[in-house]
């Protein structure tokens, strides 16, 4: 992936650093030694910084750095809460601030990211849980040491509660703010270990139902600031007609026509599109709408790509024994298992391209310095460090010279991993030497879509004479998402697709022989991480196919899942929980019930859909969705329920209506009329349950989505005996299946 500007005069490759900066061999040292300088100078006026994550002011205000982006999933509350727990802080005095892009201090050491400062894959809580606890415990230790020293008492005689240190023997009490005013933070911070941390039974903040999200008050009165709300003095506005596909460059542009629009000051053809600059948003948007551009698509892989016509190729590749495959998951010998089976089942599944449809269109404000060697960027991004890396390459400077001011994200869902708006705004600011506020129109946000890929699956299973699964083969054909969205990882893994292959595995089902593999299509689309990533379509295919297998074996779909998970107690427990919640076995006349199970980055969930069907229109109506989840230790119970509700709605929207076709390499949808998403009237009753365990916490932002599509397809099968094997399950496709 390369950004060229003005025929290559500015050119950068995404540096590997942007993804994995500083990952080698780092441990908790990065949080504990986070000051980066000697003993902190102290004063009553400045808050005292205890480490990279926490400062305490004399007024008792505690500022905790939130290293991840807030896009609705709740980390702006949950991450500071984790630190505050070990600090024994007064939660009412805690405020959160977003971290700058600085992976060395704020990277996520979850194995999925290995130190990159990215908010994705639902691993913020999982990855930051221990470092933030350590940082809180360490700051508490500094406070205790300072007080023990001042009062000439033993640290062991001191206790803490709600930002207060208490000496029981003498009855003396002192607030953290008072201590911060005189405490010296040692250059060599005190060591803390897991032994210094609380036991879950000692938690005062973690797991509290009555602690709400810190960002909610600002989000009901209009004061929460998103990237699109930022204004800086002297800024000009910009909007960009996006290249309809990667690599397409503007050839002929009706510049004079657009320059006639009042308020338009410049029209600049660039390798990624045509920028319109002006005095107002409305002028630049009118300018983009008035543009007539012909594109040079000679360098675009997607030129001529037609998603409908390509389906024959995808299908052929899925059947091709000689196709080059990557193995994602292997147990035993699937081919031998299927070959020797008494009975075999085979089916093909599809999913279409989907768009993130985040309601805040892509935007950024960029201010490149006069000398062009540094920049300030205000934007809502899941991956500010990547923006800093790419923009520093364009400006031929270093990432630390790019200051990313992260804002609330008006929806992320994976779209805001790629910092295209920030890059484009920075390039325009560098050209104009003015601050530039770039706001895409909804139409251009769709033209620049970074979709979930179109996928095709063939699944085969072998059954022995008793109906036991003796072989399972799942082959996926799709574009490789890592190749586009995470090129360094794609190269480092020899062409694997971490994002697209998620969910192909069968790690929780006892099957003796499994092969899950994938074949790459290269169609030049800007495929990307989309809420639930590969699990969204891979588990749709696998969990719907499992019901086909159950039907062939004459087994009940619930009983089969319980049998397959009998040695995986956590998986078994969520399946049992959802069966109980939904009273799964109960027959509902005219309605169908479907079940599905999935894991996602450590979290386990099972869902049940209750549906009915209008045979005339083909429309599926979902009446109820029950969902149970085990995310380990629960940080914020109410938000776990909220994330499940969110995922069920998002998942139903994707399962039932969301898709776009591609013609001549371009997205065939322009706004919410041609790309509808779920509205209130189609939302079922959603019933959620937490199956709590004391395992380390795992994420909640995506898991709830994964079971939805297969549970709905399985419910339709129970009701009609017809299989729906193509996402989305639109009324049209339902009618075809029923015909």
């Amino acid at each position: 992936m390369t950004i060229h500007v003005k025929d290559g005069s500015i050119d950068t490759s995404i540096s590997r650093r942007g993804f994995v900066a500083g990952s080698a061999g780092m441990t908790f040292a990065f949080t504990l030694g986070g000051l980066g300088r000697g003993a902190e100078a102290l004063g009553a006026t400045q808050p005292t910084k205890f480490n990279a994550f926490v400062s305490i002011g004399a007024d008792n205000t505690i500022t905790i750095i939130c290293p991840a982006a807030e896009m609705g999933q709740g980390v702006y509350t949950s991450l500071p809460l984790i630190l505050a727990e070990e600090l024994d802080a007064d939660w009412s005095k805690v405020k959160a601030e977003f971290a700058p892009a600085n992976p060395k201090l704020y990277g996520n050491y979850h194995p999925a990211f290995n130190g990159a400062q990215i908010t994705a894959a639902s691993v913020a809580v999982a990855g930051y849980f221990m470092p933030l606890r350590m940082a809180g415990a360490q700051a508490r230790k500094v406070l205790l040491d300072a007080v023990a020293d001042k009062w000439k008492v033993l640290v062991a005689e001191l206790t803490t509660d709600k930002s207060t240190i208490i000496h029981q023997k003498s009855g003396k009490r002192i607030s953290y703010g008072e201590v911060a005013a005189f405490a010296t933070v040692p250059a060599e911070p005190p060591k803390v270990s897991e032994a210094d941390l609380k036991q879950p039974s000692q938690f005062k903040l973690i797991g509290r139902k009555d602690i709400g999200r810190s960002d909610v008050p600002a989000k009901v009165n209009g004061s929460a600031q998103y990237g699109i709300d930022v204004q800086v003095p002297g800024m000009v506005y910009a909007s960009v007609m996006q290249s309809p596909m990667e690599g397409a460059k503007p050839k002929d542009v009706n510049v004079p026509d657009v320059m006639k629009i009042k308020g338009v000051s410049k029209v600049i053809p660039l390798p990624f599109g045509v920028a319109v600059l002006g005095d107002t948003v409305e002028a630049t948007h009118a300018g983009v709408k008035a543009l007539k551009v012909t594109w040079d698509t000679s360098g675009a892989t997607a030129a001529g790509f037609d998603s409908e016509k390509a389906k024959d190729d995808y299908a052929a590749k899925c059947k091709d024994a000689n196709a080059e495959t990557k193995v994602e998951y292997q147990v035993g010998d699937a081919k031998a298992g299927i070959g020797g089976a008494a009975k075999t089942v085979e089916a093909a599944y599809w999913s279409e391209y989907t768009y993130h449809a985040q309601i805040e269109p892509m935007n950024a404000v960029a201010q490149v310095s006069e000398d062009g060697k540094s920049a300030d960027i205000w934007t809502g991004t899941q991956f500010g460090a990547l923006a800093a890396g790419i923009i520093s390459g364009i400006l031929k400077t270093t990432p630390d010279q790019i200051r990313i001011h992260n804002q609330f994200l008006g929806g992320g869902f994976g779209r805001r991993i790629w910092p295209d708006a920030a890059i484009q705004a920075a390039i325009l600011s560098n050209i104009t030497k003015k601050p530039v506020k770039l706001i895409l129109t909804r139409e251009e946000d769709l033209a620049a879509a970074r979709p979930r890929p179109m996928t095709h699956h063939v699944l085969k299973a072998g059954l022995d004479a008793k109906g036991n699964i003796v072989g399972w083969h799942h082959r996926l054909v799709s574009e490789n998402v890592d190749a586009v969205a995470a090129p360094p990882r794609f190269q480092a893994t020899g062409g694997k697709d971490y994002i697209g292959a998620r969910g192909l595995d069968q790690a929780f089902y006892a099957m003796p022989n499994v092969l899950a593999e994938y074949v790459r299509e290269n169609r030049g689309m800007r495929v990307h991480a989309w809420r639930g990533i590969g699990s969204g379509y891979n588990k749709f295919a696998a969990e719907a196919f499992l019901d086909e297998v159950a039907a062939t074996a004459g087994k009940d779909p619930l009983a089969l899942r319980l049998e397959l998970t009998k040695d995986k107690p956590r998986a078994n427990a969520v399946i049992k929980a959802v069966a109980e919640m939904s009273d799964f076995a109960k027959k509902r006349p005219g309605h169908g019930m479907g079940i599905a199970f999935s894991d996602y980055h450590g979290t386990l969930s099972a869902g049940v859909a209750e549906i009915s069907l209008d045979a005339k229109t083909g429309k599926i109506k979902v009446h109820n969705y029950w969902i149970a989840v085990d995310p380990g230790v629960v940080i914020q119970p109410d938000n776990v329920h909220a994330q499940l509700e969110s995922c069920v709605v998002f998942g139903l929207s994707a399962a039932l209506i969301e898709e776009f076709a591609v013609k001549d390499g371009a997205v065939q949808a322009t706004n919410f009329d041609s790309y509808p998403v779920m509205r209130m009237s189609d939302v079922p009753e959603i019933h959620t349950r937490i199956v709590a365990t004391n395992y380390p916490p795992s994420g909640m932002g995506e898991i709830g989505l994964v079971t939805v599509a297969p549970a709905v397809a399985n419910a339709v099968f129970q009701l009609t005996g017809k299989r729906l094997r193509h996402l989305p399950m639109t009324a049209e496709r339902v009618k075809q299946a029923l015909a």
Binding site: G72, V216, N221, G222, I439, A642, F672
Partner: protein, 152 residues
Amino acid sequence: MAAITITINGKAATVEAEPDTPLLWVVREHMKLTGTKFGCGSGLCGACTVHIDGKAMRSCQISLSQIQGKKVTTIEGLSPTGTHALQKAFVAEQVPQCGYCQSGQIMQAAALLATNKKPTREQIVSHMDGNICRCGTYPRIVRAIQRAAREA
């Protein structure tokens, strides 16, 4: 460019802008009342909902010239202290996630409660169906509107 006087959140303001400027951009960029959001520019998502003479309207579809002499209320003006029954209910029900559509949701809902103190669930859904929430907070929006109706 013309100077047009409008009444916004109870105050008269003079705006230097083209008469056909969408009210959305007047509110957001000229007046810096950024609680009203841009989502689609086509009246399809409801993120830009404001009140004009008490009625919920899509500010991206209304031009500056159309609101002369009319009263515009944005989320910032719904309640001087941010304590409208709906705002309290949206906090109590922990509705917002990304939060981007929420100003529009609240303004849309406020227009309903202003004329229908005790809406049924069906009336709520039918009134709110034009407002997209991509985070899917719909069940909580319904609960919050019901709570506001109960507690107002």
